[in-house]
Amino acid sequence: MSLCAASPWARIGGLVLGLTCALAVAPTSAQADHEVSYFPSFYPHEIRIEPLDPERAAREFVNRTDPLHLYVGAAPRFSGQIPEHLKSVESLKSLITVSVNPQSSRLQGREARCRAVEQAVGALATPPDVVIHPYPITPYHADSLSHADRVPPTKAVSKPADADTLTFRDGADLSLLSPPARVQTTDWDVSLDEISVSALLIEAGVGFNQWPAPPWAKAGWFQAYQLLRPAIGEASDREHVDQLYERLTHNEFRDRAEQLNLERQLLTALLGSCERAVIGYRLRQEFYTDDFSSGIENVAVDSQSGLNSAVFLRTVKLKDFLWNGSLRIGVDPRPAAAWNPIAGFTDAAGRLVWSIVGDNAFLPTPHNSRWVQNRAEIRPTDESGMRRSVRVPDDALMPQTVTGKLGPVGPNRGAMAKVLYRLSASNFSDGSVMEAADLLYPYALAFRWGAGGQDAATHDPEIASATRLIRERLRGVKLVRVEETSRTIADQTFTHRSPIVEIYLDNLTFDEQQSALIAPPWSSAPWHVLALMEAAVERGIAAFSRGEADRHQLPWLDLVRDPAQLKTLRALIKEFAQTGYRPAALELLVGPDTARARWQLLDQFVEANGHLLVTNGPYRLKALSPDTFVFEVVREFTYPVGLGTFDGFAYPARALISTMEREGDLVLVSADAEVTVKQQRDHRLVRAALRPDTLRGRLQPVRPESHYVIVDQDSRVIAVGSLVRQPDNRFAASLPTTLRPGVHTLFAAIFLDGNTINPAIGRIELANGGTIGKAGPAGDAKDAERRP
């Protein structure tokens, strides 16, 4: 029995590429029991998103008939006591900065500016969700260990005697200022501002949609650069920080120690002129119901986006259901951004929606700055781990600048790296079968709309920004073959097809995963939907991005919520179905008949569903009203990622360093583990000595990653490395034999299962002759017992 219609096939160089299909065979024997080993997609069978203000959210949490399960983006505003069945999680919401007024005559000198920054720190009030932290890298950044010596403990931040003389620009959030602080509309000294991490990333060109984010998007040094660099006045200072930034993003360093020194130099350079500084951060507190019967569990909190993350939505489970159930999510604020995967979904609600319906190749790991494979798997190649150029095959494809047309790269082309991907294809929600053109068209679109300048006929600055890395570093793409794998579920066998694709890049790094993140050959929307959007923009119906929409006084392209746009887009679909339209960039890959079939499928889809949000993700938009968006799960066994895939990210364990001591050339670290143990429908936090058999609720051993950094008295990183577990369960760092005379400080942290959130960092001062000073914690890590 075949579950799929004949696939449209694409031919490239004689290679037949039907990328996905599923076959189910008739049962031959009773070899299956009741259980099934694989279930496609994730736990809830329905997700409802409702824009709610904080007061309404508080009321809906105690709604007896249909309680709210979680509230994303803000804390509910409770009129009285917080109900006992609610729990909350924290994540980094925003950074609080102070910027010196460049017009201020009394703050022209560096020393005066630095003094003003200190005064501003002293004037900062501390509401419960605000932490004074005069450094851009926070405990919610994974790179905080390598900056541990630079963050003064909170208690060391004291209010300067002259703090009250500083004047603040009118418009500052007064709740952040101590009462004596003075505010002025003119002649102010400093501006106190708060920028959310998500807004900062959007300004930095990080898309929360179809485009891959840069590998370092969650790194503290990257965010610090985006935040502080625009305030630097001196051209030579800007040039210096740009050079450091370029070296970091181009991996121009010999080893990890040099990389960390570059990051630290970048921070030094960004902060050196005291024109802008980070003086604190605000935490986002989000609530969910932990009710025994109707609550949720399996909570994976992202360090920087909290509950608004793709992995959270792929782990969260209703307690009342082993799987299935309807998850009700409130979100604040109301959605404002358009829903299009090219340059939309940029606000909190939009990101949530894209996390549900979209399915990027890699997803951000919740508790560190790495990425986890989702629809793309990296395969080793002959060139893995080598830093030497590779030849790009003649028949590899490359988009032409401006036109985006995909053509062979031709002979004698080289690249610095090759990445081999195995992709997990699946059908799109309009029934179209994923083909080579779907994988490749985003490249064409990136070059077409990103490469030309502002005056080009096809250009969008936000696409240019989001695709900069792809365009800078991609040197060729080659579809190698399609692999088939069978999955037997009960007595039915499903065949998944996985394209194997080589990508050639000018990206010099030993870190294969970093290269893989630059330009993965993947799309969560089919080529015909991308082409439809392009056509709409070219015909002046709408603009991809909000910036271009404002500039041209056009609607922001929305595939769902603007009836007028939908009407126009439907007319386009019918036109294209008649002509068999396919973009010029795809003429090599898609014939007119195949194109016509695609447009007909899309026409049927919009007729049946009333929207054009066609994706290949784990959920599909089922119904929409101004107050509720309903998504239904994809339980088709053609969907290749299944229940439980990301469960390991829920309730990450945390290490607490208990002692550090030096014995000869070793520094020995003892630690406890704080693990969450699942018991029936509840979870309990357990603290135990960190040993190899330390268990967590899912019965799999905790995997420690231990790191140390040694900093000399000149604030240079002189050694980095991993600690080695000893037979007595302590972790040992071997001190380098090349330590020069003087005082050094060793900082160590143990990240359990890679969890870097708010780490307990231990420090010990070392003189060549032995230990001096006392070992103890560094920074402000909170070692107190936490609730899961």
Partner: protein
């Protein structure tokens, strides 16, 4: 074959069906778990090298709801045994785990790796019936003593390993699900003639459908299947199947939908009042971790547990083995065991007992064949009652159980009423040794199906 007509009551009595709180007893000498016996000094020289066990179970994916209890049962037994110095007081148990969700091919490779590289002494676990028929022959080929905790398909012994030497299995076989459900329904609701079915559209559903019908038809004359619903794999909306079943105005609705699918189905069925208008019987509704079933589940329905074990039965101190096991399990894991926990836990104790008995006979650490000979034919006291290992097919047999759902204040979730449990001696609902397998003289789904068809009388 001659068909005899007898009345239902007599036949159910002959089957040994009991209803209530009493545990079934037997006159056969029973081996108590080694934990309950005074440790005797082992004979001969016992090495002190650890015993390596491989335990494969689902640690991820939907079946982890069964896999985790299995591993917890195994670990609890291993911890207890190690706390007393290990097996024969010398050999502590080290467990290597593997995630069964890796897929059948990967699991076969992992079993070979465990034996050839890790040098495991024994292999246990395995939940999926898709895996036991693949792993059983490999265990035989490797000469690796193996006790499967589940993977209960009849196919394992009918076809895949018809003459096992090294492989054993201790859960009741799959055909018992449909038959147990049928016997319980016939005992409880003999007036039910119009039957509606809702089963998952894969082999387990068809197995349950076939075996329920063949048994129920023998026990209740004049029955009629008035509706069949076959939700596809992955169905989330059961409305069409619920309304179809209800519109056929059945006396009884029978289902083998499992896990999260079952929870979704019963919650949707509550909205339609499905449980108000017909009786309901399931083969497997409570065959998950006990805390998974909410208090909104309908009370008084037959809620099967895969014919194996439920922690509330036998209740109180009527069967100390169960009381002790539940207490120890709860103390260790803060939750209640399911049939996988019971199976994995007692697998280790059966092995320990077999080793001790073999040691008594010959001294020293016994050869594998000596351990196997002790396992064959063993009657063993478990939390679920007496377990008998049939020598001819190495299958464990224990009384099949099912029961009625009930809310009680002691638990935050719904349980099976310990005072209304139905038990059936498994030998009376399973094909006897040497009964022809499918393909040998008949083409019925299983030997048990054919045996019931051919030998059970049509009751009046």
């Amino acid at each position: 074959m001659e068909q005899r007509n007898v009345d239902r009551r007599s036949f159910l009595n002959n089957l040994g069906v009991t209803v209530g709180a009493a545990a079934a007893a037997t006159a056969i000498p029973v081996v108590k778990p080694a934990s309950a016996q005074s440790p005797a000094a082992p004979k001969g020289k016992i090495p002190d090298t650890p015993l390596k066990f491989g335990h494969m179970t689902f640690l991820t994916g939907p079946a982890a709801v069964l896999g985790e209890p299995s591993l917890k049962g195994h670990l609890l037994a291993a911890e207890e045994i190690n706390a007393t110095g290990g097996i024969l007081g010398k050999r502590k148990i080290e467990t290597i785990t593997a995630d069964e969700a890796a897929g059948t091919d990967a699991n076969v490779k992992e079993l070979r790796r465990m034996k050839l590289s890790e040098k495991i002494d024994m292999f246990t676990g395995v939940i999926s019936s898709g895996n036991t028929p693949a792993l059983g022959p490999v265990a035989e080929e490797l000469g690796l003593l193996t006790i499967f905790v589940d993977g209960c398909t009849d196919f394992l012994w009918d076809k895949a390993v018809p003459n096992p030497k090294f492989a054993f299995r201790i859960t009741n076989i799959q055909s018992a699900d449909g038959v147990t459900c049928a016997v319980a329904a016939a005992q409880t609701w003999p007036e039910a003639k119009k039957i509606a079915h809702i089963h998952p559209d894969y082999s387990y559903g068809r197995n349950a459908f076939d075996h329920f019908n063949i048994a129920f038809g023998k026990l209740v004359p004049g029955t009629q299947v008035v509706s069949e619903g076959w939700p596809k794999l992955g169905t989330t909306d059961f409305t069409a199947h619920i309304t179809k079943a209800m519109s056929s105005t059945p006396d009884l609705i029978v289902s083998s939908v499992w896990g999260g699918d079952y929870v979704a189905m019963y919650k949707q069925a509550l909205r339609y009042g499905m449980f108000n208008n017909a009786k309901f019987a399931s083969t497997i509704a409570f065959g998950v971790a006990p805390h998974a079933i909410g208090k909104d589940h309908p009370e008084g329905v037959i809620a099967g547990v895969h014919s194996n074990y439920y922690f509330t039965f036998p209740p109180g101190n009527r069967w100390p083995a169960n009381k002790t096991f539940v207490e120890k399990y709860y103390k260790r894991w803060n939750e209640y065991p399911n049939f996988q926990s019971d199976g994995a836990y007692h697998t280790l104790y059966m092995y320990k007992t077999a080793v001790e008995k073999a040691n008594k006979l010959a001294g020293g650490w016994p050869e594998e064949e000596a351990i196997i000979s002790q396992l064959e034919g063993m009657y063993f006291e478990t939390a679920a009652g007496y377990l008998y290992i049939r020598p001819d097919n190495h299958q464990g047999y224990k009384d099949a159980v099912t029961g009625f759902s009930k809310n009680v204040p002691e638990y935050q979730f719904q349980i099976l009423d310990p005072n209304r449990m139905i038990t059936i001696p498994i030998r009376n609902i399973t094909a006897p040794p040497h009964w022809p397998k499918p393909g040998s003289g008949h083409n019925d789904p299983t030997a048990t199906y054919n045996w019931i068809k051919e030998t059970w009388p049509q009751v009046t």
